[in-house]
Amino acid sequence: MAAGILLVTHPGIGTALVAVATALLRNLPLRVEAFEVPFDADPEQLLPQASAALRRADSGDGVLVLTDLYGASPSNLAARLAHLGTPVRRVSSLNLPMLLRVLNYAELALDALPAVAAAGARNGVVLDDAF
């Protein structure tokens, strides 16, 4: 029982987050793929590539799709990935605390991961002017 993770983001974001998570954790406990959507891309043409990334992330138990900005092209593309047959759950506002927390709960089933991701993202926001 191991969900896969697919980051669907604006250019430069997804691969950078995966690189940092890999540097911090060394061996990622889940399959993590990044798919970056170019600014001038036609979403229609990207769908085959994005679905290939989804299949790479899937090990049979579904994929948690994390997008950086709700309502933007990457998240609209991610919404279409949910209709291809692979079980998909989507969460927006991807950030590093979200990704790290999901990887820290790697044993959970796909349906439990959206709440884990959301809490990670939320708790990562600290109004950091104490002291």
Partner: protein, 89 residues
Amino acid sequence: MIQRDLVVSNKLGLHARATAKLVQVLSGHRCNATLTAKGREVNAKSIMGVMLLAAGYGSPVVLRVDGEDEAAAADAVVALFERRFDEES
């Protein structure tokens, strides 16, 4: 319940990589684990939780582990602190 008083002994403090190592060491154990510093107690199995302590070089922290494999978990964490998280200094 086992309690251990520790001092953050690596130069960079409980930064992201050190925290990730601590959490990975603990995630192999079933017991509950908390870390306390500056009056704040956090889940020691949570990367963001531990990083919220902002515990720098020389900070005293208190480890508490509670559960069936608490002794092994405490030993593993103490060893990690003594090894300075496998960092240079």
